[in-house]
Symmetry: C2
Subunit: 209 residues, 2 copies
């Protein structure tokens, strides 16, 4: 992570100009060749099912390709034990950080929730900056952002400026913030059309968790 | 698969009535207890990404729970090599049937395509009827149905009447037919909000395949 503390306005402007110049060059290159590979910022949002599941599907796919990956859990209890067990089968490729203690509606302690969110975000930054990781899943980060437990500006700035070029970052959760959608390369909204809970069927192993 | 050949109309009607009676009883039970577990018919459709990926995520989750599963590929080439490699790591739990030869826009031979679709559907029925399988993924079946390579009535009848009660069947692909949505328990539409191909970034390992 680059430090911005102590930089003059001029230095900050120069840095921004350099970034933009690089961005422009990158975009021109993309337009010219259409063969650019780059690490994407991907968002899965919406009220439907499949947001985390599709992200885990991508994680497993990445494992299948032999990549190293990291998964950061921003809301405890949101996870499926089947997914966890699968990830744990690949200890040499997978880093799992299950942060938080089950929060908001469970802890009912805003300060504790904010401290948990901060700890999870610190782990996320570390995972993203680790050049070994090709894929980092920030599961349910949108929930934390929605409650303003972390400032969206900080997340957006980090992802835009500090994320290594060849690392994919996938962010899941309902109500993705506009600022995040703005910087994302790929955004998919999962829309619920029909749901069995409406007919009273309980959550079940392998489907819901 | 139960045989309907040689049954009189009276027998068919009686069978239908019995089915409906069972269905009604099951629904009443569900409404009464709200704790029913049953094998779901799940559809992932829409133009967005994540339809197959979320289905594979569910498959891997099911593997994590120790279940046996089957995956039937209705369109060759639609698959990610990472997913395939991951599935192949669990040969005792996973049956893979990669059917078809890459069709419609590749074979340009309608009769061949129909024969391939039929063979894949036969494999699908066998996998669904196998009581060992808890989860069966019919990947890109919607594409085949859209081109009317298989009669939708036959698929709907089989899934409604022959699918074992505790087997989950997940069907993916754009343009899911209304008749399928009708009988499904859970339908999610993946909607594209932003896509990197628009900015000319090529498909890349771990993300697109």
């Amino acid at each position: 992570m680059k430090k911005t503390d102590g930089m003059t306005q001029e230095e900050l402007d120069a840095r921004h100009a350099e970034k933009m110049k690089k961005k422009k060059a990158a975009r021109e290159k993309i337009l010219a060749t259409k063969t650019e590979e780059k690490g994407l910022i991907i968002v899965h949002t919406g009220k439907g099912k499949g947001k985390s599941t599709a992200a885990f599907g991508m994680a497993f796919r990445s494992i299948g390709h032999g990549h190293k990956i990291a998964v950061i859990q921003f809301v405890k209890g949101a996870w499926d034990s089947g997914e966890k067990r699968m990830l744990e089968k690949f200890p040499e490729q997978v880093t799992i950080k299950a942060m938080g203690e089950g929060f908001t509606w469970e802890t009912q302690d805003r300060n504790k929730d904010i401290a948990n969110a901060r700890a999870a975000w610190d782990a996320a930054k570390e995972a993203i900056l680790d050049p070994e990781n090709r894929f980092v899943l920030l599961d349910e980060l949108n929930i934390v952002l929605r409650y303003d437990y972390l400032p969206i500006e900080e997340i957006v700035e980090f992802l835009s400026e500090e994320k290594p070029d060849d690392t994919h970052v996938v962010i899941t959760g309902r109500n993705a913030k506009d600022e995040l959608i703005e910087i994302a390369d790929l955004v998919t909204e999962m829309t619920l059309i029909k749901h069995p809970f409406r007919s009273g069927i309980k959550a079940q192993e392998g489907i819901e968790y």
